[in-house]
Amino acid sequence: MTAPPIAEAVPLAAPTGLRRALGSLRHDLPALISILVLVLLALAAIFAPLLASHPPLQTYQEGLAANGAPIGPGHGFPLGTDPNGRDVLARLLYGARVSLTIGILANGLATVFGVLVGLTAGYLGGWVETILMRLTDVVMSFPILLFCIALISVTGPSERNVVIVIALIYWTTLARIIRSQVLSLREREFVVAARTMGLSHWRIMRKHLFPHLVPTIIVYATLGVASSILIEASLSFLGVGVPVPTPSWGQMIEQGKEYFQIAPWLLFAPGVCLIVTVLAFNLAGDWLRDLLDPTAPERR
């Protein structure tokens, strides 16, 4: 028998955990809907090539009206076309891939970073804590968008750079939360007991503290995806995000904004997707928080 993976040690993983989760979903309609939405979104992104009736980058002669204007929903293009004569639905589906991937990757990276910083600072204390937390303060004090734009204008826009830049901005909140939790955890007797057994700092942080942080991490990682997706959309809207022609929702809004009066679907389609996704991540995050917080009152 080998040591169990860390996630298994979380109270949620107790035999009743899944049942409790499903049970609480029954009483929480918004959470149930948002989780269904997220599942659908994920499926749509994964199976985009099967669902889209056209390739997302292909321009169609017949996709433009005689005067060169984009055509509305119907006429072989379920959600109409964009000013280049490309299928909006196909771009939306492939855009979901880009937006979700970037949101999840960037936020995942930020979570790892935030947990490492918060855990190290909180557990070690002293000058390590001072340096790490002042660094956190500094990063937090930057205007987010300005910082992203500045970094990307140096590194050049690419999907990889967008992920890295968002991660560089978004680890701070989690770092602070984790640090404050570790500050109280490290005084608990089992941590002192672990120290009296001569275990290394690394082992104590990884094995003795980390499992206690997992519920917090899950909640903030979920909530953070929504913010990361929004930042990606903002950057793409400003033209420093995902480079053309790769579709992303923010970039689709940017390209559609000039045609708003004649082709409103160019804004509505990606805009609605964005709102629904962000809302779903937030509601799911709230639900997870209530579920994993033993002190939260039972919701009816």
Partner: protein
Amino acid sequence: MTAILEVDDLTVDFSRTTAVRGVSLRVEAGERVGIVGESGSGKSVTAQAVMRLLPPTATVGGRIRFAGQDVLGFDPARLAAWRGADIAMVFQDPMSSLNPLLRVGTQLTEGLRRHRGLGKAAARAEAVRLLRTVGIDDAERRLDDYPHAFSGGMRQRVCIAIAAACTPKLIIADEPTTALDVTVQAQVLDLLDELTERHDTATVLVSHDLGVISSFCDRIMVMYAGQVVEAGPTDDIVAAPAHPYTRALLDSIPRLDGDLPRRLPTVPGSPPFGNVPTGSCAFADRCPHAQDRCRTEAPTMAPVGPNTTAACHFPLTEGART
């Protein structure tokens, strides 16, 4: 006999209070020494100072030597190699000194793997053996349980197994039975007794319960307000306490024999916190035998019997001897 632990004139200062004032202690190999005192007497702080567990805000003075080495001079790496391997600790509350999210097996094997360099399988086999030694049935299967699946007494057994895992030279047990009910207390003490006997492990037992201490220890050290007020072999002290405080502690142990007192005697008042008067005996205010000299001059440790010493101007044994 060689001394495992020598504490010399230990002082522990927190920013506002002095918790320990000049405590000296010597523990030989295989010896059981009890430190007894009320809350705030500095007994736990003394134990923590020896383990180097005090926060950086505490100023530690004096000398602590472990098998001849200067403990206060250990660097972090030396400290981590020393703890668990040569010295280990058992805590008061087994509910909180085991990590609730880690399997008991993990917590038992991590010391073995670190200090004895055992591989996964070897450490697990050793953990099974340890768990059997401390009297837990079905050890093989129980290793995969989480602490909540154990009762309080069993958890303390697990804690003792963890502490004894690498056969340290010294185990410090800080109120190991306080959180347990009385029937389990005896079992846990017996277990500690058995394990330390087997490997000639020295034990320092810290407790407020003189009954527990006297049934377990070879020698007793009574602490009051951060100082040692009486020290000596258990039998001598229990038979003829020299310090009024020790006497008062002994009197407040409920007895099953003799006439039942109307009320259990207690020590009136409470120990001084923070600023302990230095120009007088710290116990003077609560002492039934206090005289003028007690309020103007602090007593020092002096022999009061063939093997015992006490810090009292008017030791109770004086009359008996002359």
